[in-house]
Amino acid sequence: MSEVLLKIEGINKRFGGLHALSNVSLHINKGEIYGLIGPNGAGKTTMFNVLTGLYTPDEGSFTFDGCDLFRAPPHVVVKSGIARTFQNIRLFHEMTALENVMVGRHIRSRANALGAVLRNKATRDEEAAIEAKAWELLRYVGIEDVAHERAKNLSYGHQRRLEIARALATEPKLLALDEPAAGMNPSETESLKALMEKIRDGGVTVLLIEHDVKLMMGLCDRIAVLDYGKKIAEGVPEVVRKDPKVIEAYLGVAHE
């Protein structure tokens, strides 16, 4: 049995009258690529926002790598080792690619205002280390040649990669990617797939939301399907794909 990294049980989240998540439980194992799929509006992104502390769930439990993260604020979540990307790419647009990744190092560095002003040796060393690590990550995702470009001027594919590099800079144990392939062409999608496998093989667990079911089938070790805020299926891709409930959720019910 593989080790459980993330365990959430019975999560509920309501917005006014809308029950966005009802009683959702997920277990993600260390070292796997875990996919979360479902039609538009199924609650995938809400789930993500709950996982990363942007939304506080109404009920349920949420433990990660032995830490209780139920209703923890985002910076605590990140510190414990969950990092994320966004569906509609949220980079710091006017910062360079390199600076974006350096921001990702914030939580793993410690120089305070006094250190910054005095620029003592410890601060200078740390700053150098931050920059070195940022370069390393840009190389890792394959975009070091655009390090000094402003984020917004990058191509779509590069922006996606930069967002992943920035998330990796926080040294996550779990990397949560929200529709990373959205808007990509087939060849970009292929190389993104390779990157995700590389990240997994490097020891980081990957959680993936995707709309593109094709991509998920070939990539994920396990998949959960959300529909109307409920988990309707979970398992290995081959089984999930044939589940009638899943087909119905995607293609719609036939009109009798």
Partner: protein, 354 residues
């Protein structure tokens, strides 16, 4: 890295020389009142750089910044004047005042953390007014601030037994207080510039920009938004406090009148019209907005006399009118300011397109 080291060095030495002889050149050609204006320009540079941390770096609109200037000024005045007959030396009372201002920064920052944009602006404005109202009225039943009369005879800075408040002669040079204070202010301005520059190019400066650009993404990167905001408030207030202390000792007299809303708006205008977030731009904004009104004061009156043979518009009135018009026009045609950073200039260009 477009400029090579030699060129940089040359620019540095040249500006150092210019700054070193400036008060004497100006004093002997235009008169000492202009040296005084330059001294004020330096004070405003410090203030504007302080506000720039809050508005320019962290993106938090603060309309009550003058309150911290006031805290610094009153701290100095109360600790160095006949009012309580305490006479602490400046090297104690200025840091004390700055520290107190920083505390007020935290005091203001803590409750308003969650507020955004306009709401934050209004609350900070209200905070500034509350401070002013207290200064105006804390003369009874216990006289703390001496009310609207203000505090007089504030100690000048004493360095090694020499008071900067009186003219002295050194090697045949006649050193006026405005000259001596110039160097004190220049020194501290340089310190503040170095401080904000280093902050901007640090982990903390990056965090401010990240938060300003996208606070949700910044939170998702593990930035503790609350602490980062508070730090901006405290450090901005700190610079304001230093400038306030210097103002008090330089003037020798302070009253609540100097700390009104208009002053807050003036400093904000320096930051915005100069180029928010860009240190050289903010310095330029502060210098231009301190000196331009003085020039106008000298020009508007005589010009009207010449043109119309009488005063149509009172110069003070015309000056403020121009200031207001400049704010509006600037925002409409060049919202990024006179000398924006490349980053900001691009932001505004995109905003216009989109």
């Amino acid at each position: 890295m477009t400029m090579d080291t030699n060129k940089k060095l040359a620019v540095f030495i040249a500006s150092a020389i210019v700054l070193a002889v400036l008060p004497f050149v100006v004093g002997s050609t235009l008169g000492n009142s202009w040296v005084r204006t330059i001294d004020f320009a330096l004070l405003y540079v410090m203030l504007a750089l302080g506000l720039n941390i809050v508005v320019g770096f962290a993106g938090l609109l603060d309309l009550g910044f003058i309150a911290f200037y006031a805290v610094g000024a009153y701290s100095f005045a109360l600790l160095g004047s006949p009012h309580f007959d305490i006479h602490l030396p400046f090297y104690i009372s200025i840091p004390l005042g700055a520290g107190l201002a920083a505390m007020f920064g935290l005091l203001l920052g803590t409750p308003v953390l969650k507020l955004k944009g306009d709401y934050l602006a209004i609350v900070t404005l209200g905070f500034g007014e509350i401070i002013r109202i207290f200064m105006n009225n804390l003369n009874a039943p216990v006289n703390i601030t001496n009310g609207p009369q203000g505090i007089n005879l504030i100690d000048p800075i004493q360095v090694g037994g020499v008071s900067l408040g009186k003219a002295i002669e050194v090697f045949g040079f006649n050193l006026n207080p405005v000259h001596m204070y110039y160097y004190v202010f220049l020194f501290l301005t340089v310190v503040v510039v170095i401080m904000v520059y280093r902050l901007q190019h640090s982990r903390i400066g990056r965090a401010w920009v990240a938060m300003r650009e996208d606070s949700i993404a910044a939170a998702a990167m593990g930035l503790n938004i609350r602490n980062i905001k508070l730090l901006a408030f405290a450090l901005g207030a700190l610079s304001g406090g230093v400038a306030g202390g210097l103002f008090a000792t330089f003037q020798g007299f302070i009253s609540p009148e100097s700390f009104g809303l208009l002053e807050s708006i003036m400093i904000l205008a320096m930051v915005v019209l100069g180029g928010m977030g860009h240190i050289p731009g903010v310095i330029l904004g502060a210098v231009v907005l301190t000196i331009a009104p003085e020039i106008l004061r000298d020009v508007i009156g005589p010009l009207q006399m010449k043109a119309f043979g009488k005063m149509l518009v009172d110069p003070e009135n015309a000056r403020m009118l121009l200031f207001g018009v400049a704010m509006v026009v600037m925002m409409l045609v060049r919202p990024e300011g006179m000398w924006p950073s490349k980053r900001r200039a691009a932001e505004f260009k995109d905003a216009k397109k989109g």
